[in-house]
Point group: C2
Chain length 434, copies 2
Amino acid sequence: MASSKGFLSLSSLSQGVIKAEYAVRGTMAIRAKKIKEELQQGKKFPFTEITECNVGNPQVFGQVPLTFNRQVISGLMNPELLSSNIYHKDVKKRVEYYLNKMGCGMGAYSDSAGHRVIKENVTKFLEKRDGHSSHPDNIFLTDGVTLGLHMVLQALVSGPNDGFMIPVPQYPLYTAILAMQNAHAVPYYLNEDKGWRIDMHKLQETYERHAKKGINVKAICIINPGNPTGQVLSESEIQQIVDFAYKNKLTILADEVYQQNVYKDGVSFVSVKKVVAANKSKPVDLFSFNSASKGILGECGLRGGYFETYNLRDEVFEQIQKLRTMYVCSNTTGQIIIDLMVNPPNRSENSLEVVDQYEREKQELLTSLKNRAHIVTQYLKKMKNVTCNEIEGAMYAFPRLHLSQKAIDEAHARNMKPDLFYTMEGILIVCFTF
Amino acid sequence: MASSKGFLSLSSLSQGVIKAEYAVRGTMAIRAKKIKEELQQGKKFPFTEITECNVGNPQVFGQVPLTFNRQVISGLMNPELLSSNIYHKDVKKRVEYYLNKMGCGMGAYSDSAGHRVIKENVTKFLEKRDGHSSHPDNIFLTDGVTLGLHMVLQALVSGPNDGFMIPVPQYPLYTAILAMQNAHAVPYYLNEDKGWRIDMHKLQETYERHAKKGINVKAICIINPGNPTGQVLSESEIQQIVDFAYKNKLTILADEVYQQNVYKDGVSFVSVKKVVAANKSKPVDLFSFNSASKGILGECGLRGGYFETYNLRDEVFEQIQKLRTMYVCSNTTGQIIIDLMVNPPNRSENSLEVVDQYEREKQELLTSLKNRAHIVTQYLKKMKNVTCNEIEGAMYAFPRLHLSQKAIDEAHARNMKPDLFYTMEGILIVCFTF
């Protein structure tokens, strides 16, 4: 066969990979890229620029990183800076603390699951947050939460009938990874009319309906605060999820990357770990994920993430540990930014001016995010044929478009889902980042 | 059932993950860790410290990162440094070049496959190295080569009969990933008596033997320079491998992370890409991997890597591209260190003193690595009952231990492989890093 290309074809490839769809980089993102190019070529649109909100990427829109964090990382990258007088002594002290505790610089591999000192500091953060004990061995640092999710789902899928309950609307990475691993996504629907709450009584019904079809439902994924729906679960809602998981022998995957992003007065973040740990008689297997990409840091590019395991049997834990070694360690900058997140400057160890600057920058960011959450919701509510729930947390508004019958008919005539048809016309991106 | 642990058991987990063994972090590494702890507790051994050479981790043993590289990264992490006079103007210029070309700082996500400017610079480096054209779209930046290998093997395994030819001795990540993906590792043995060369005539025989058993052999992995065996393939050897791959419709995975580590006079590195590109009539599918962790940079902790695809059909390429998006972008520090590797200071753009310092540091490192390769081999050769081939490249010596019959019998009595028995006694680690 004469061909200028190789032998590999679609049939040579993993059918799971082929099946996977990762929508945040899919059809709409490609359409946006095309419009961007056309704008640059001078084509006229009712707008002059495109703001890409398909991923939460705060620093690309001007969010400024926290000064202390970046000074410390720059000092770690070039410790010669410590001999100049350019940085405050607290920055130098922090850089020396890491170099000393790590026993090496940034260019060395750490242990696969991360530098011990950072895992210990994550532990202290979790203990303070939840009031329950945590252990450094149960902390696994990863290049962002994405890689942690890949690893954990890879470990948990044992056959083609395995099912994982995921919220809908969801962050599309879940369905993509599950398709790739040849597992089933079992959707549980969030109730828009009730502010995207989980319909607890429907969880059991959903479970049973899929179990009856022969699906081995083995885990439930919780995204709290919700992505892209912005609701924040209460402690009693989490308790109901834990009860449900225990009753049906499900593992819980808790995606808590927006735990710092809570805006509504009177609402606060409660971790799944806190509730599971309080339920000693219901030892549910738990993987909790957290990230330096969201919150007030927004350090997406540094790829800092971690997960904590809880209640795993030893033989299961050892497999997770082994799997983690097969990916070698996560990048050291990402490890350090996780430490800086869980171990910020504080009054007992640092000078007043350093703590003050840090707190001021942090407050400004939180206030700005809260204001933008409010502004976006208000604007959406004012729009004709658009409704939107109030944003309690995370970084997204998730409006409902009330399309005319004409638009719906046109979409069907083009063999498209109505919402995709609407967004592809370039008028509005459904999922707003603020 | 009363239990303080969760429901997950080994039978809940991926059997591929359970099967996988990653030896560099396995039995021997655990034994070393235990001895280290015992040393700290005061237990007496015939030695006083342990040097961990189970992974190539130069900076943990005092290799110093190149000054220019770390100054640039620190400037990117904290651009306020540019307004001081602490850095040479070339460093500032380079920092501004990246900020300008990336259109954002280090804390933003880049495109999934990496910042365009870096992919373009990798392309220029490859074109200069090989004398053949390359395209930025074909460059995929990854968090180290490890993640690239995971992705590519994940894409290429389509069923449980798939086989991948791997060199033996090998870098154990290959067998670990293949086991995890439920694919077969098809070993081709390197000939120790001939300086670890590939027995070309045996490749075809190995292929046919496995094909006859029903294994769908679909790719051959080449590690050049060899890890852990240190041999460097000649152009004619690579040509034979390309001929073999084309004849049998195999994809080539070329692990070329040690391409800068060549020590033997008269020997130089030739890339698989160069040979494949020169064979227009034999368009073999190719994935080539390179890293900032080895070479003269040794920046393992920064997790910078990339792979280049070549000769892929469009529909196959698109799947690789999609899979890459499912892992989000690699960390930006790792991306920048790749750029600094392929795009070092040079006389046409930089001041003489900056280029001179860079070249001096580079030469010192290369000379030191070359000397250590020689010293390690000489010492091994002097040892009783140890033989060792000369090291042409990479970072390892791979000696042969000639064990006494008594030791072999004792190993068998303990139901252990003789080499494992020997190393577990704590006398010598088989694979030396120098």
